[in-house]
Symmetry: C2
Subunit: 367 residues, 2 copies
C-alpha cells in the first residue's frame, strides 16, 4: 500500500471512523482502524461489532492495499503532524512509514484479514430525513434512556414512523421523552436503535438541512451520509407501548416560564443532594408554585408565579428528572399537566406539540 | 448577625476565601468560611491552617456578628441566586436565613469561636512588587516544583531578593526553573513559599500593573492586595544552592525556533509513551537537530533546522521536562546550551536573560 493525502482530510476521517472504536473489546483488532487504499480513494472503517463507521476521502493511491493500525496512536500522530501532505506506505516488516515534511514515523500494523466484515445492506428502500432535524430529535430524547442494562431494550431509542410522523421515544422507568416531527412519508417503521449508536450518529450528523438516507433490515440500521456510512445492529425485543403510559387527561394544568422554573428547581435541589435523593416538593396554589426541599444541611423555599387551571395540588419529584427536561426544551413557556400526587406529570411546550415529557412523582409517606 | 449585600460581590468574595479551603482537613470547621459583619463591612476568611485567605466587601450591616458556614454549599447557594440583593441573618437554632427575591434558604452554621485565628503580622516592613510581574514569574517556575513530599523543601519556590533582583526558583531533582526580574529594592530576602500557596496566590493576583505588598516574618508570608490578604506559613529549612547547579560554561550552543522544536518533541514523544519513559534522543549535527524515539509501537524521526556553535553531540531526555519548558517560554527563538551527554542542558531565551531552565539528560547505557 502506498498513498498520499492531506493531513486535514485524513485527520477528519480518522475522527469519524474512530467514533466506533470503543477500546473496550477484548479483540485487539477492534482497537484498530481498517484503512483501504484503492482507485484514488481511502476508506477508513472503525468497528466495535455492534456499531461500524465507514468513511472515505480522496487520496493519491500509488499502490493499492489494506492495513489495520491502532486508532488511538495513529490518530494522535496524524493530529500532531504539520498541515501538509502525508505519505503513507507499507514496509516489509508489518509496519507502515508515515512521512510528512521532515517527520518520519514507523508504526506497526495489524492484519486486515482479521478485521470483521461489515454487514452487507442492500440500500433499495430508503427513508430520508433532514440531518439537522434528526440530530435535534436525538438530543431531546437520548437523556431519558436507561443507563442500566437490566432491561436492555430501554437502553435504546424507539424509532417509529407512522401516520406521516417520525417519533423518537426514550424511557427508563422513571421518565419518558417523546419527540415527534411531521414528515412526508407513508412508511411504517418500528425499530429500537442502541443509545450508543444514536449518541455517535448525532455527533456525525450535520447542523444543516441536508438529508441522511436510512435503510433498515430486520437486524440493522444503516445511515448513509454520502462519504460516511454508519451501520448498527438494532436492539432485539418489543419496545414498551409508550402511548398507554402517557395520560390523555389531566386534573390541573400549570403554565410557567421555563427558565424561572429551572432556576428555582436548581436552587431547591442544592438542599436535596444529601443522601442523593434529590427530593423536592411542589405546592401548587392559585397563581403560585412553592418549591421546598430540606436535608440535614438546612431547608429551602422557592416561590414562582404561575397560571393554574384546575385544583391545587401537592406533589414531590426527583429534581434531576425535571432539570433534565427543562434544560432540553428551547421554548420560553411550558405547560405542566397533573392528575394527582401519585400520577405522572406531563411537560409540554405552550407553543407546539413537538414533544411530550413525562416524569413520575416520588410517592411520599404522607400521600 | 444581620446584613445585606449584592449577590455578585458576595459570590466574588466567597470564591476568593474558598481558595484556602481544601476540604482535606480532619477539622470540620475548616470546611467552613468565617463570615464577620461589622461597620458596614463583611470579612470572609477561609483557612487550612497553613494558608489563610481573608477578603472584605461592603455590606449593609443591621446587626453585627460572626458565623461559620460550609464553604461548598454556601458558595453553591449564592452562585445560583438571582442577580439581586441578598439578606442574611442568624436565627435562633444555629442556622442562618438567606433571602434573595423569592428564594429563602435556611442553612445550619458552625461556631465562629472554633475557627482558628490568623497569625498576627505586623506590616511595618513591606516589599512591594507588580502583581502582573509576580503572577507571570510564578507561572513560569511553579511547574518545576517537586510533586512528592520526600524532600518537603522542594515542594516550595525559593523567593530570593538580592542585588536589585527578585529571583523565583523551583527544582525537583530532574530540572530547575529560575525566573529573574530587576527591581528597585535594596532588600535581601530568602524564603521558601509552599507551591500550593503560590498556586492560589497566582489565581488571585491581577493581570494589571498594580502592586501587591508582601511582608515576611520568620515563619510566614503575607500578601496584601488591599481588600484581600493572604497569609501562608513558609517552608522550613534551607533551599538548595541553586547557583552551584547551573553550569556557567558550555561546549555547544544550539539556537532553534521554539514552536518548531516543541512540535517535533511532542510528535517524537508519541512513540515514547510506552512504559511511560518519555525517552527521546537528540542527535545534534551541524545545522540539523535529529530527534528520534522508539518503542514497541514503532519509531519516529524528526528533523529540525538549527544553528549550532560548537561540537556535535548525542544526548537523551525525558520529553516531558523539555515540553514543560518550551510551553512556558513566550519568545520565538531559544538557545540550548550543552556540555556533554551526561551534563544538564540549559535553556534560555535568545532575546533576554529573564529566565534559565535546566533539564537533566537521561543517561543511556550506550553513553
Amino acid at each position: 500500500m502506498n498513498f498520499s493525502c492531506t493531513k486535514t482530510k485524513l485527520q477528519e476521517a480518522i475522527s469519524i471512523a474512530q467514533k466506533a472504536v470503543t477500546g473496550k473489546s477484548p479483540m485487539p483488532i477492534l482497537q484498530g482502524i481498517l484503512i483501504s487504499a484503492k482507485d484514488n480513494e481511502l476508506i477508513l472503517i472503525g468497528s466495535d461489532i455492534d456499531l461500524s463507521i465507514e468513511t472515505k476521502i480522496e487520496a493519491e493511491v500509488l499502490q493499492e492495499g489494506s492495513i489495520v493500525v491502532d486508532a488511538k496512536i495513529f490518530g494522535e500522530i496524524i493530529r500532531k503532524l504539520p498541515n501538509s501532505l502525508v505519505e503513507i506506505k507499507t514496509l516489509d516488516n508489518n509496519s507502515i512509514e508515515i512521512i510528512c515534511e521532515k517527520s518520519k514515523f514507523n508504526l506497526i500494523h495489524m492484519d486486515p484479514e482479521e478485521f470483521p466484515s461489515l454487514p452487507r445492506i442492500n440500500e433499495n428502500i430508503i427513508f430520508s430525513v433532514s440531518q439537522k432535524m434528526l440530530k435535534n430529535m436525538i438530543k431531546s430524547t437520548i437523556f431519558a434512556i436507561a443507563q442500566e442494562e437490566t432491561r436492555p431494550i430501554l437502553t435504546g431509542i424507539l424509532f417509529e414512523v407512522k401516520e406521516n410522523k417520525l417519533n423518537l421515544v426514550a424511557l427508563d422507568g422513571y421518565r419518558l421523552a417523546l419527540r415527534s416531527s411531521i414528515i412526508e412519508n407513508e412508511d411504517v417503521i418500528n425499530a429500537v436503535i442502541p443509545g450508543k449508536t444514536f449518541n455517535e450518529v448525532s455527533k456525525i450528523l450535520s447542523d444543516e438541512d441536508e438529508n441522511v438516507n436510512i435503510t433498515f433490515t430486520p437486524n440493522h440500521i444503516l445511515f448513509n451520509l454520502g462519504d460516511t456510512k454508519i451501520v448498527s445492529r438494532l436492539l432485539e425485543g418489543e419496545f414498551i407501548k409508550y402511548n398507554s403510559i402517557i395520560p390523555e387527561e389531566f386534573a390541573l394544568k400549570v403554565t410557567a416560564k421555563r427558565l424561572e422554573l429551572l432556576n428555582c428547581i436548581e436552587r431547591a435541589s442544592l438542599m436535596a443532594k444529601d443522601g442523593n435523593t434529590n427530593l423536592i416538593k411542589f405546592d401548587i396554589k392559585e397563581d403560585t408554585l412553592i418549591i421546598t426541599s430540606n436535608s440535614q444541611l438546612g431547608r429551602v423555599r422557592e416561590e414562582l408565579n404561575i397560571i393554574l387551571q384546575g385544583e391545587e395540588l401537592q406533589i414531590a419529584f426527583n429534581s434531576k428528572y425535571l432539570i433534565d427536561v427543562l434544560k432540553i426544551i428551547e421554548e420560553d413557556e411550558i405547560v405542566l399537566e397533573f392528575s394527582s400526587s401519585v400520577s405522572p406529570c406531563v411537560i409540554k411546550s405552550k407553543e407546539n406539540n413537538n414533544y411530550t415529557y413525562l416524569v413520575l412523582p416520588v410517592r411520599l409517606l404522607s400521600n
